[in-house]
Symmetry: C2
Subunit: 136 residues, 2 copies
């Protein structure tokens, strides 16, 4: 049983075979899958699972803060199961590979008060872009 599923159960989630499979797909592979990729992998284990259910389940995991949504290009959103350790993303402009990276210092502290325009700023997402070794 995955940690993710355990945490969700602890929050009063009804555990169904569909939700289990989606959680396992995300937990098993620490890459950043699109919803359709999650669906494709889920179908291997549970052929009847529908696309709508995958979208719903991913959306619920995101609202519960157990999974992060990242959209680094204008295309499909990707889902990041590594929601409990703060991190940023490094994206290859060639092949689209995404890696989790850790920065020194807190990005929020780099935004001076006079640049906040009265906003209550609560988060900062950094996307680093470049070429991976294979694409360079």
């Amino acid at each position: 049983m995955s940690d993710l599923l355990e945490r969700l159960r602890g929050r009063g989630w009804r555990v169904t075979s569909q939700r289990r499979v989606v959680a396992e797909v995300l937990d098993g592979d620490h890459v950043h899958l699109t919803a359709d990729e999650v669906h494709a992998r889920a179908v291997r284990r549970l052929p009847e699972i529908s696309r709508a259910t995958v979208y719903n389940t991913l959306g619920e995991m995101v609202s519960l803060g157990e999974v992060l949504e990242v959209s680094t290009d204008g295309r499909a959103k990707r889902y990041d199961p590594n929601a409990h350790r703060p991190h940023q993303h490094l994206v290859c402009s060639g092949c689209g590979t995404i890696r989790d990276v850790h920065t020194t210092g807190d990005p929020l502290s780099q935004l001076p008060a006079e640049e906040r325009f009265g906003f209550t700023v609560s988060a900062a997402e950094i996307t680093y872009r470049g070429l991976c070794p294979s694409c360079a």
Copy 2:
């Protein structure tokens, strides 16, 4: 004549009424419009202009580095005419308003070599999220 259009002409762009109108729409209003909003405003000045032309023109301006594409939500891309001064974005989670902001220090220097995994890192985009004064 807008600066933007002057620069584009200098790059050998054929200047048509459609391209002029798109450039003027972007230049006139320093907000971050979606392609459809650009189209809606362009139609007021040139009723026959097509959606495809607006998309093509925006895409060309982006490839020429004269306009930036920003996608802060998973929805429509927005176009930022302020491509020549490095800046980051502050987005209201309530209403979606986007403001250009300037950080202290260079975000690239916050990514240590051992976190680069052999990538040639060339850019960093920061999206700050929070609530604007009206939404707070």
